[in-house]
């Protein structure tokens, strides 16, 4: 069978890739894509731990379901914000949306 550590390696690598995407991209939508990758990595971790350590309980899957719901809500609101910023500023480049920067 597949050792649990393999799943953890894949989840950590996916999280690191999402982290790089969220921190290094200029376009706000690309940052949101990085955030979705991170949420997926967390879900893989949750389900892998559920399967290998506590398959008799359902907590891991329930937690993953709530992460799905929160990710969907946050993606909707984030994209609405981005569209609103685009209508007002005509850009989604985060280097240019800097009114609140010091």
């Amino acid at each position: 069978m597949i050792p649990l550590s393999w799943y953890l390696i894949v989840a950590t690598a996916l999280f690191a890739i999402g982290l790089y995407g969220a921190l290094s991209r200029r376009n706000a939508i690309a940052i949101l894509m990085g955030i979705e990758l991170m949420l997926n990595a967390v879900n893989i971790n949750l389900v892998a731990f559920w399967r290998y350590l506590t398959p008799h309980r359902i907590t891991g899957q329930a937690f993953a379901i709530f992460v799905f719901a929160v990710a969907a809500a946050e993606a909707a609101v984030g994209l609405a914000l981005i569209i609103s910023v685009y209508r007002n500023r005509d850009t989604v480049d985060v280097e240019k949306i800097n009114l609140l920067k010091w």
Partner: protein
């Protein structure tokens, strides 16, 4: 190298490879398509983990809703007549260093623990029944379930209020 390990390696390669393409592609639409491919890879990993219901939910929600929403946003914020700008911001080197340091640190800490190599108990299809009952059981997760539905409602109303056309 069993069949399961081979399938796992293919799915992981698809997931991680398309994730790398998501964070490096200049064309946002291509990045969104690679994101969909990555989500499919993650759904395959859920199937390997005997969480078939979660695999279905992953396809329905992430690919069917979130990725489509991202494509809508990409289309609505098209920047056609712009000069070509770099697709990384000013701190991309720090970001790369930080991500790599995070990966190295977490792997170093995680891989020192002797995790189990095999699954101990088979999981039957009645885990879906148990999940449904857990989400409705007052002793278990009905409260987070109701809060999550309120959250989704708030997100729905909020995003319509934020993104609608002002006359």
């Amino acid at each position: 190298m069993t069949v399961a390990k081979g399938v796992f390696l293919i799915l992981s390669a698809v997931t991680l490879g398309s994730a790398l393409a998501v964070v490096t592609q200049r064309n946002l639409f291509h990045a969104a398509l690679f994101l969909i491919l990555s989500f499919f890879g993650v759904a395959g990993l859920y199937v390997l983990l005997d969480a078939a219901f979660l695999a279905g939910i992953q396809v329905l929600i992430y690919i069917g809703a979130i990725a489509i929403l991202i494509i809508f946003a990409v289309m609505l914020t098209r920047q056609m007549m712009r000069p070509v700008e770099p697709q990384v911001n000013l701190q991309w080197a720090w970001a790369a260093g930080l991500s790599f340091a995070f990966l190295a640190l977490v792997l170093w800490v995680t891989l020192r623990i002797p995790w189990p190599e095999q699954v101990s108990v088979p999981v039957t299809a009645e885990s879906i029944t148990r999940l449904g009952q857990a989400l409705m059981d007052p002793q278990q997760y009905v409260l987070p379930f109701e809060v999550a539905s309120v959250l989704l409602f708030v997100a729905l109303v909020g995003s319509v209020a934020i993104a609608r056309e002002r006359d």
